[in-house]
Symmetry: C2
Subunit: 336 residues, 2 copies
């Protein structure tokens, strides 16, 4: 077992799971083998349901977002609940699709005070301090840690000056800096990064965040985006994250790319209308969703298998995994 | 400067580049400020030009791929040259689009011996050993290293057994394992990972690889894929990488997702026909392309700025960057 795992749920964890034929199970097979009690139902009021207008063939385009649980970004999440309950998003549009980066939606005229759609009452404003939470080792209660290092700070050496004939530099400066990547944990169905003082959600594929203007603006939640490319981790701790897409991301990620600066659509006709945005408990025809509990041995085995692929296709396991390459499994709750 | 940089080109490298107003330059501004001699023209014969059939509005869909330079994956690259010169790919199709993973193209009937398109003569077969190259510190000649660590192997401690009341475990096993992530370098316009013995290209967004069946098959190059999601680094050293998309990836990444297993299109009508695939020196109407030399101080400044965003939007620089979040800049060669 080459992956560092840490947590009370993992004390008994040993050899990789094997199929009947002796081949190690794939991550998908491990998830499929989870017990019913390993899954956690997501409360409908923690879902946000985005219905784009039907596509050219009349097919519905529904995107389901799981809102991040307390205490992370709860301020912005509450604003989003207020906006959805007020049906404020209805009639807005997807305005920006930048390849390998983000899809962004909201009021296309939001920047123009003369045309902007009035916001409902009761929206709160938050400070940049709230992009992170105080890190307490006792909270959230259980962890699965991936990535190689428990230490939060480490000494780095910087080489400067001229190189001599042996390839050595005449000056070496060592400084204490934060680890890159930061330590990572899973909890409550989401993944987070932390240092010794703070904990924060990470910009993995499918994560949903709050558009904002320049600092100190932090956005209200009226303008949202989701990641559709390689994780832009440089946005971590610079923007509020509020959830992740758990179904239907293809309706956003396969949209035509915008040809304007930053991938904005250049003409109004390119924008994709949003028919409605509802909280899950107000959405019509929504099934129940559940995530694989991040506090189970099954999840630990899944993380280990993602980091050390030994199923049939693989000849050399990587020996580690980027946290954004180990998404928390989600499914529609099976009918009994 | 919090990013570890290493290389002869960097000896004089010090403070971040500043704009006239004192604001640090963004990565894009640093690239825009590069001198003409910082750019390296890509030989047309190192380009592969994939022309999909025009879209529903009659717009052309051209994808330009830069083939990886010697000595990396040259066997497969030579096969691809043979296939392109024989016009073998013409009339094949995009058959698979899996969200947050890959787009794959080639002969849709390639798995059916009765229907498969005959391959041209002269294709070579390669072994799995050739997924990596022997690592010599003297070759490629210059490096820019990102990510925090120069060491290739390190000791990891694994906690096992029961946890006591102080949160300590009664057993601690320390083992030497490979680093995760592996050390990373840039050279010759591409990025690579390495340990103390081997060096290999990495599965970043837009990288192009060779589809294969189960080991020990390594594929011929007749079936290719490109990454359209978060870097699937678990494929590193398990598949041959042969290049990267430098223009037009949106024609692949925005295609409708396949609804069959692994994102394969379920019906023939969904497949996207490929009109032609040509080497750059045989493609009609192709401009010249150039990449920002990975052996220049400009590139080092760009890497540093990507890892430590200090331009206006950012309030907290990350202090590091994933190698797949620092793509080598490419542009059409400006006309004089």
């Amino acid at each position: 077992m080459r992956l560092l795992l840490f947590g009370t749920a993992l004390a008994a964890f040993a050899a990789p799971a094997l199929a009947d034929d002796g081949v190690p199970l794939s991550p998908g097979e491990i998830v499929a083998s989870a017990r019913a009690e390993d899954w956690v139902v997501i409360p409908p009021e923690d879902l946000l349901v985005l219905d784009l207008t039907a596509d050219a063939d009349g097919k519905p385009r529904r995107v389901v977002i799981q809102l991040i649980p307390p205490p992370f970004s709860q301020g912005w999440v509450e604003n989003i609940r207020t906006l959805a309950k007020a049906r404020w998003y209805d009639g807005t549009s997807v305005n920006r699709v930048q390849d390998n980066y983000v899809v962004q939606w909201g009021d296309a005229d939001g920047e123009d005070p003369a045309k902007a759609k009035a916001l409902p009452k009761g929206l709160q404003r938050f400070t940049e301090r709230e992009y992170t939470q105080v890190f307490r080792e006792t909270y959230p209660l259980d962890w699965i840690m991936v990535e190689p290092d428990h230490s939060f700070f480490t000494e780095k050496c910087l080489y400067a000056g001229a190189e001599d004939e042996n390839g050595k530099f005449d000056e070496e400066i060592c400084i204490e800096i934060e680890n890159w990547p930061p330590a990572s944990v899973y909890s409550l169905g989401f993944n987070f990064a932390h240092n010794s003082r703070e904990i924060w959600p990470v910009h993995c594929y499918g994560m949903v965040g709050v558009g904002r203007n320049l600092s100190p603006d932090t956005g209200t939640g009226a303008e949202l985006y989701t990641v559709i490319g390689h994780a832009p981790r440089h946005l971590d701790r610079n923007i509020a994250l509020v959830g992740r897409v758990i179904e239907g991301i293809e309706h956003l990620s396969s949209l035509p790319r915008g040809t304007g600066p930053l991938g904005f659509y250049e003409t109004a006709v390119e924008r994709v209308p949003i028919d409605s945005v509802r909280l899950g408990n107000e959405a019509v025809g929504l099934p129940a969703y559940e995530y694989l509990s991040t506090e189970t041995e099954t999840f630990a085995r899944y993380v280990d298998a993602r980091a050390n692929r030994q199923d049939e296709f693989f000849i050399r396991p990587a020996g580690g995994a980027d946290i954004c390459n180990v998404p928390v499994p989600v499914r529609r709750k099976p009918s009994l």
